[in-house]
Amino acid sequence: MKVSRSKRTEEILFKVLMWIAMGIVFGFVISVIWTVFSRGAKAMSWDMITKLPGGGFYIGKEGGFLNAIVGSLYIVGASTILGLLVSIPVVFFLNVYLKKDSRLAYVARLAFDVLFGMPSIVYGAFGFTIMIFFGLRTSLLGGIIVITLLIIPIFIRSMDEATRNFPRDILDASYALGATRWETLKVVVRQIAPGIATATLLSIGRAIGDAASVMFTAGYTDSIPTSLSQPAATLPLAVFFQLSSPIPEVQDRAYAAALVLTIIVLLLSISGRFITNRFSKNKL
């Protein structure tokens, strides 16, 4: 029975290793969240999220980072809407207009995979070049354009995933009733609504947290932009720039900004999970 014993030892060994691996994953999650929350909570105050940077803000005097919060919301809001406008038709086209084994759909999906994997710094550098080409300076508009380009592949990939499992019979039923493909869009959109919602939350999460792409395109400013041509501050850059300051009070603001950003992202992630669970239950 020697063979069977070594078999069992190996089984137990690897089971233990797997438990350790998952323990490490949980450890990382807890460590990151705990670090941001404990350090951020110390630095947090009402002023931080309700006030603009005052005079002498960067030497540790009064003020908050409302500029970054509002800037992020402007950029993310606008690019989410633009992203949805582009990606819903594309997803619909890939799944309804094109046949299942279409060559074009294959190439398009590959293209979106490549764009999805493209680092945001490349988007940033490319976006900056385009802006110079068109004579734009760092501005809210530049940030919106680059973030839109960044999240379109995310939108398309995750909605595409939701649409692919969508029952073909429903399409046939709609055609049989005499509807054109365009009219069938209404049926499809209603069916994949939870998928769209999750994709949107995912994209917002990515859009709000991305720093490398807005660094050169949206710039940074202490005020809230009043037009598209003015630069805009963003939360991740508020963390990044203030953390590089040697003054502890300014660094504290970075931690507070990191806390705000983390809370937003966590809320988005949790509600995304919730929607997926909720609706995948009802589907069956």
Binding site: L17, A21, V25, Y97, D113, V114, S120, V265
Partner: protein
């Protein structure tokens, strides 16, 4: 009435086709744009001297990318070394062992890791990993280390890559038909034996593809790495030295270089390197993954 509906349908078809084609063309536009911008530096220096020289003196017009390339490779290698075993074991457990209850806890945890922005990982790295390295780890090996090292960047990056790797592994593993597992189990193999001899062996190509994707993700990561890598130009001789990966180079210097065309061009060349690496890696691994998906269907 009917004609109007058909026209509408055709019109929608045209518009959607155009949008889809535009997105494909966008990849090409990006490549051309980056190439055109990096052309001046490529005309001035040979490609080989750009990637093999370690002299980085933008003011004198010397652009040697070797330190940055080596920095990127070091950091990426470490990140994969850390994340691969953890992700593989986690994914095997989740697909081969776990009851639904366990999945209910692990998936949200992975969701959180995937959702956290790069800059938050940077903050975590600066507050936790960097001090840990400079206080605890480095003193056993070197006299002094600030903690802003290849190791710190590798660890932070490794953690960031875990959720991507796990989800890709799970996708690949679930393409193995249940009958194969059942056959193996009914012959008396243990679960781990089944995982090792059936699932892992059958998905080698998929695992490779997943790892390549993770590598390309790790190579392009910017802000988190920038915050913990130390940003000292030079070829690191061990993992307790600072490094300066390519994305950090672009992020740190972009905007300053506008007055010097050749400098700008050199930075665009750095972006082009990233673009090409990511493009090739992504295409290769996605094509493999699509094959697997198809054979499953």
């Amino acid at each position: 009435m009917i004609r109007k509906r058909i026209v509408k349908d055709k019109l929608a078809h045209g518009v959607m086709l155009a949008m889809t084609l535009l997105s494909i063309v966008f990849v090409v536009v990006m490549a051309v744009g980056l190439y055109v911008k990096s052309a001046p530096v490529l005309e001035n220096r040979s490609l080989w001297s750009l990637i093999s020289s370690s002299q980085w003196k933008p003011m004198k017009g010397e652009f040697g990318f070797l330190p940055f390339i080596v920095g990127s490779l070091w950091v990426t290698f470490l990140a994969i070394l850390i994340s691969f075993p953890i992700s593989l074991l986690t994914a095997v457990y989740l697909t081969e062992y776990a009851r639904p209850v366990v999945r209910k806890f692990v998936f949200p945890a992975l969701d959180i890791l995937a959702a956290l922005p790069s800059v938050i990982y940077g903050v975590w790295g600066m507050l936790v990993i960097v001090p840990w390295i400079s206080d605890k780890v480095a003193r056993h090996f070197v006299d002094f280390s600030s903690g802003y090292t290849v190791l710190a960047a590798g660890i932070v990056l490794g953690v960031m890559v875990i959720p991507l790797l796990v989800s890709l592994f799970i996708e690949v593993f679930s393409s193995v038909p249940a009958e194969l597992r059942e056959a193996s189990l009914s012959l008396g193999a243990t679960r781990w034996q089944t995982a090792k001899k059936v699932v892992l062996r059958k998905t080698l190509a998929g695992m490779l593809a997943a790892t390549v994707l993770a590598i390309s993700r790790a190579m392009g990561e910017t802000i988190a790495v920038l915050m913990v890598c130390g940003c000292v130009i030079g070829i690191p001789s061990n993992i307790l030295e600072p490094c300066y990966p390519i994305p950090a180079l672009i992020a740190n210097n972009y905007g300053e270089m506008l007055s010097m065309p050749l400098y700008e061009s050199a930075l665009m060349f750095a972006a082009l390197i990233l673009f090409v690496v990511v493009l090739v890696f992504n295409l290769l691994s996605r094509i493999i993954l699509y094959r697997i998906e198809r054979s499953e269907a």
